[in-house]
Symmetry: C2
């Protein structure tokens, strides 16, 4: 683990990352030492730093430190995950932030086990608060996700669909959501809450590249009842939805061109 | 600083308090070694542990450790603040929480400087997301407050009024809000976001004890234009509002009986 470039595994209790969740994170796929979505991660991190008035991070330094981590863990080959956490450090007085160097944390995690042939998706009762000033960003304020995760685990699922307080679909716990209907690819709007995933942006880009129509919409889960296919995207790839709300979905109906493009990207 | 009963000042990077803001806190006034609102703090902490499925905390052990802190800092007399942070520790895998002992952090802070004769209140542009599953609780997810604090500081104020995403009043940055109109005491409803302050509960209790009518309402800030008085409450006391949105308020119109009762409580 690297903290501000030095080996370490702890931070000060007074760090605002702990005190207020005053920071951001990125979870980045590394394939044989390279991060195919690196630029998208850095763009979101930069947007987050702007929104939180955190100092902009040097992407080259982050890349260098990530590589250093992988090397020291003998992890330059195969698939690995690097998590980057940026906090405001101890710069501030109570809620009031002050300018100063951020705390920069990087560490490696193992690539998680993933369902190969589709996943069952719970319809969560937990709702996401709406109208967040941080809609789209990946901040350290993730308690809604923790509570949703507990609900998903208790129900015996691995993933769940989260709606906002008004009942509109937002995302899944650890992924963004797409569905396909009469040749059009849909995904929820993320202007009031949710995380704007790097892979979501990649999927939208690929779909448009292949001439598909893509629409970002504010809809309740009822529209999924007539969807031809559903899939989830996150930094580590795509997963087809096999069952949702008692309805069996066709896991092979996920557009092949997109599947192949993402698979190629991550190989 | 005490961490799980031991001296220390740092926590593991993998602690979920940092990773997700997966925890709670309390900021407690100690007057000559006693905490007049201790039971209210413990009740809110207990409700928070229930909502987050965190292990219930032993209030006697917390009281013992707080006293131990004050003693070692030679702070058994005068006014002091003790902050308690409870996190889920490292118990979990990604967002999914697991059962296990919480991380328990206590430390002392100096009693902050407070305006004696009323404070000017900014009307913040920053909005609180609404429909939070944690409405009323004091969780470690406080990034909205950090951003609001930056706005307040930039505008040259010390406190600001926060509305939710729908434009309804919720609270001030570090306090709850009360206003007085034709003999009735009003305070915003906190069922969709905001922190249910221990002093807010105390003020409501005192007001009702003195036969005042108290109403919890969902209102936009426009109703404050015809208020006779406004004041803020937090664990450290009451503060009258001197000016809001260009309107000068009567700082002496805050109900004397309530002011005296709270002053007595904190002396």
């Amino acid at each position: 683990m690297l903290i501000n470039g030095q080996c370490g595994d702890s931070i000060a209790v007074l760090d605002r990352g702990l005190q207020y969740g005053d920071g951001l994170f990125e979870t980045i796929a590394f394939i044989h030492g390279n991060a195919p979505l690196w630029d998208r991660h850095m763009a979101r991190l930069s947007a987050g730093c702007m929104a939180l008035a955190l100092p902009q991070q040097d992407a080259l330094r982050l890349a260098h430190e990530a590589r250093q981590l992988l090397q020291s863990d003998d992890a330059l080959f195969g698939r690995h995950v690097v998590k980057i956490i940026i906090t405001r450090g101890e710069h501030g007085s109570a809620y009031f932030p002050r300018e100063g160097e951020a705390t920069r944390i990087l560490y490696r995690r193992d690539w998680p086990q993933r369902a190969q042939r589709g996943i069952d998706l719970l319809r969560c009762q937990t709702r996401l608060a709406t109208g967040s000033p941080f809609a789209g960003l990946k901040t350290l304020n993730r308690l809604e996700q923790v509570i949703a995760a507990a609900e998903i685990k208790k129900a015996g699922f691995q993933e769940g669909l989260l709606c906002d307080a008004d009942g509109f679909m937002v995302e899944a716990l650890m992924s963004n959501l797409f569905w396909l209907k009469q040749g059009v690819l849909y995904t929820p709007l993320l202007d009031r809450c949710g995380v704007s995933g790097v892979m979501r942006a990649e999927v939208i880009g690929q779909a448009e590249h292949f001439g598909m129509r893509v629409r970002k919409v504010r809809k309740t889960p009822e529209v999924l009842m007539s969807a031809q296919a559903m899939f989830l995207s996150n930094a580590l790839g795509l997963t087809a939805v096999r069952e949702f709300s008692g309805r069996r979905m066709d896991v092979d109906a996920v557009p092949l061109k997109i599947r192949n493009a993402i698979q190629q990207l991550l190989s």
